[in-house]
Amino acid sequence: MPWSASPGPLRRGARQAAALLLLAALPAGLTGWLHPRRPAWPGADEILPQISLADALTLARNRPVLWADARRPEAFAADHIPGAINVTEADWERSLAGFVGAWRPGQPVVVYCAGDSCDTSRSVATRLRRDLKVTDVYVLKGGWEAWLRLHP
């Protein structure tokens, strides 16, 4: 057998691999800091929970859900999910007053914007969590477009 049960080579190899890992850490850090094509630092809103329309509707069957429409007021006025309130950062103080009027403590909130390519829903959801310390806030996957597909 070319390889007996001796742990020598494996341990040596492992030590060298660990050293290589440590050696790679410095250039990796410099890349993340200085490279012109460096990746975006994973922000806090990465942990924002997303929910599909189907799951949100299931949730709404058991407990009343507050729908928050993060689109512009004109889009909201034209049509929105029944019972939704308009919450925009551009008009945050007024949106906040409306939210406080509609929200019951403990009620889950689902924020949506036009679809998946807009990030206003994530922005508004993050702001709600931050300013109101409401934890049960979701971002609707597919947004208003998903609703329209279900209710043409």
Partner: protein, 154 residues
């Protein structure tokens, strides 16, 4: 089956150089576009974003370091082992995507290169850890360690 005596070590060295070349190329391509690679790792939806960020920044330099280690005699054992770990990790990612039917760019040679995850790519990805494991298995460096421990000349 019998092979001529000198062919073994020659093939072993050949595999070592070939793996080092592939690792150098792969690492270099990823370093040109770290954001693209991090995005590719994220697309596999296997790890959270922060972990994808760390993997994306570290792996290209690990590949380059591994290539150098394979070519530097004292570091060969570590090189093979690291190559195996990198290859196995990558195989897990690509294999999981193929199993889940994800339609994403492979990210094998940087983020932008369009190599979709096909069965061929998944199978090919099993090859790296296999070659690396075999390289470690047959690495003559190990005998040097054992011989030194036994007090014999290498």
């Amino acid at each position: 089956m019998a092979a001529p005596a000198p062919l073994g070590p020659l093939l072993h060295a050949g595999a070592r150089w070939a793996l080092a070349a592939v690792l150098l190329y792969a690492g270099g391509a990823k370093i040109l576009d770290p954001a693209g690679f991090v995005a590719a790792v994220g697309n596999y939806q296997l790890v959270p974003a922060a972990v994808a960020y760390g993997i994306g920044l570290l792996v290209p330099w690990l590949e380059i370091g591994c290539a150098a280690a394979l070519l530097a005699r004292p570091w060969r054992l570590g090189g093979w082992l690291l190559a195996f770990l990198l290859g196995a990790g990558f195989a897990v990612f690509v294999g999981s995507a193929w199993l889940r039917g994800l339609d994403i760019a492979c990210g094998c040679f940087g983020g932008a290169a369009q190599a979709p995850v096909t069965a061929g790519a998944a199978l090919r990805t099993l090859l790296y850890p296999a070659v690396a494991a075999a390289g470690f298995w047959y690495e003559p460096q190990r005998s040097a360690g054992k011989a030194a421990a036994a007090g014999l000349p290498p």
